[in-house]
Assembly symmetry: C2
């Protein structure tokens, strides 16, 4: 197994931790560490992409610029382009460059694409290359928070969620063989008000999640509560507090700052652990499956162990009303046969028309703008933002964002 | 030929004028007039629907209500639901009822659907019945205004326009065998400023039409300048004047009032003519083809005279990226074989994503709301209007519109 990072210090931490866990559990694994991407791809059967180009600092700077132009929390709170800065340029460029390298070096390998924006990234690669590609996220696990809050036994519940990455909705919720949606309605009617008085509720059980369920007919799961809910939940801090609780939820200035500092603290922790080889990792951080699906995919395909996972793959007719070549996040059987999507029922029309198709159009815009260097498309996308008051406002913001030093290549790329 | 109207006086005027023209030109035609719709359908080969249920007064009243809720010129200036009032309910109900009658009485007849909203109406009928249906409009003739303004000889120009009804765009503009778009650019660069100083220019040559061409890559034709141009051209009188000229164009309070009074004057004129049988019609109003396509369709199909017309028919692959079952307005060959669409090239991505797909979604929403009596869908549609500031604002307006006396059945129909 090859670990690759362009940052030697970060790479050394990952390699050290991996080797020590390997030794403690006596696994028959060999880790190779390299800063050379092409070398890391040689002989690969699976390539996991978890890149964040440039880290979060440029994104935070872009967010501040956008706020000065009238866009609270930046222009990406409801479209995933935020994850990659304006136009998602840096992430998409990396993902496509990586895929091109794979076509040369390991054309039969699977690309397990887990870097955001997963939706745009996987659509880009499946359309531009012939690589076997699958997008992976973990947001669907949040359905367990709903199960827990309703007081149900997880072993007696089955679920199905479909949509796009960060836009998945609970199509089936079955408890002891019966539709459990009435239990959601009951909880809303009898327990929600008391629950929402507590400060520490999570977004999955927020008023925003329930209101979106009432508007669109299905319950939003995981990141869908952040990304798939309508614009008027997100206009300002007050709206965010109304819909996502006292701190305004994951994407408010409070929630997001907490996320970034948690991330930094975690990184520091691994750094420190790497410096103390005498510390037994298994004692302090027991080895357990974290719920990510990457290893499952490798296991299922390589060893022909059939598993049902929640994956991002081309629709190919699985969700009616979505084009075949659009990547959808659906349950899929993974095995020696490859990855086979499970056919979904027709989605509620309000959900399809009001949430999924507009998100699909945004993806198509981002990819078109990226592939054609089309700045007009970026500005026209921003005109669709409900906070935009004039063409000049949108045009100036896009121009200003692209004029930042970290966007020099993007500024060249996107022409008027 | 059967003339049908529920209003006996109006019907009598039409019958009188038709018979007198027939006598003057000595045509071998027999007119029958009836106020009984079912009777009028008996034995029909072609049925032309040109209804406007309830006239314009309720629409004008709804427009005033919408303005009081913050929506200048009403909520339909950029979606065709305006033509039928909130949800286009009355027009759609009539069109579907008529189609159901046709299925019983003349199931093999063609329905020539020319009543607005043509886009929603034709999609409704082709999906809900097995009738042969075609939508007909005349807006594409406005391309002649562009040809004239550029000083070209119409006989040396060929054009193609595609899109949806009221949303058609000039894909081909050929003069003496060469692409004539550079002449448009040249006119814009050298003559537009002088031209726009004149008060009486038409919308087809307005700054809005040219700006939309620059944004989306193709020139909007006819009603597309009104309906297919972006939201910020339409927010208030000032914006309308900037983009459509001194009076704010066809849909401003000035332009629209003029349209309604012209309509009323025309009606009065026919009434007066009908009262004066001594007046020779041919002398005062010479018999000439008005550019409408209804008679061409009948002639082409009945007599197998192949003609190329501009018609609204199911896409069936003609425009890439639009679903097969969506009605598109494209060139089509009409003959004894029926109506055969002409395949179009891929449209510019900014136009497809920024204009056509959002309009398609609006149509799907209107039809869904109509077929399912779904008031939430109407409110969610209005939330997409850039002038909407809050959910309450949109909800209150929809509720208020539906509470008007002329909307009593619609108010029953659309449930929360």
């Amino acid at each position: 197994m090859t670990l690759m990072d362009i940052h030697p210090g970060r790479l050394r931490v990952a390699e050290t931790i991996a080797n020590r866990y390997r030794d403690e559990v006596k696994a028959d694994l060999k880790f190779v560490a390299t800063t050379d991407r092409c070398k890391s791809l040689e002989g690969a059967d699976f390539v996991i992409c978890a890149v964040k180009v440039g880290g979060y600092d440029p994104l935070e700077a872009e967010r501040k610029i956008a706020e000065a132009h009238g866009y609270y929390r930046g222009i990406g709170d409801r479209v995933s382009c935020y994850y990659g800065g304006v136009g998602a340029y840096h992430q998409l460029k990396f993902i496509l460059d990586l895929a091109r390298d794979m076509e040369q070096i390991c054309p039969n390998a699977w690309l397990i694409e887990t870097a955001n924006p997963v939706f745009e990234g996987t659509n880009l690669v499946t359309r531009q290359t012939r690589l076997k590609t699958v997008g992976v996220c973990h947001g669907h696990h949040c359905v367990n928070r709903l199960i827990d809050a309703l007081g149900l036994n997880k072993a007696e519940v089955s679920t199905q969620m479909v949509g796009f990455n960060h836009f998945i909705w609970l199509t089936h919720f079955i408890h002891r063989g019966k539709n459990a949606y009435p239990l959601v309605d009951q909880w809303l009617a009898t327990k929600s008000q008391e629950y929402w008085k507590t400060v520490n509720y999570n977004e999955q059980m927020s008023p925003g999640a329930f209101n979106a369920y009432q508007l669109y007919g299905l319950f939003p799961i995981g990141d869908a509560v952040r990304s798939g809910t309508p614009w008027w939940y997100h206009t300002d801090r007050q709206a965010k507090e109304q819909w996502f609780g006292k701190d305004g939820g994951f994407d408010s200035e409070i929630g997001w700052t907490r996320y970034l500092s948690d991330k930094a603290a975690e990184h520091k922790m691994w750094e420190k652990l790497a410096e103390h080889p005498e510390q037994k990792l298994l004692e302090k951080y027991p080895f357990k499956h974290g719920g990510e699906q990457h290893i499952h995919i490798v296991d299922a395909i390589s060893n022909d162990k059939e598993m049902k996972l929640q994956l991002n793959i081309p629709n190919s007719g699985c969700i009616p009303g979505i084009a075949d070549d659009v990547i959808v996040e659906i349950p899929a059987l993974v095995s020696g046969r490859g990855i086979q999507g499970v056919k979904a029922d027709k989605l509620p029309t309000r959900l399809l028309n009001g949430v999924l198709l507009p998100r699909m159009i945004a993806m198509e815009n981002i990819l078109h703008a990226f592939l054609n260097g089309d700045r007009k498309a970026l500005v026209l996308m921003l005109m669709d933002d409900h906070r935009t008051r004039s063409f000049q406002q949108a045009k100036e913001l896009i121009d200003t964002l692209l004029a930042q030093p970290w966007n020099a290549t993007a500024n060249e790329h996107y022409r008027w």
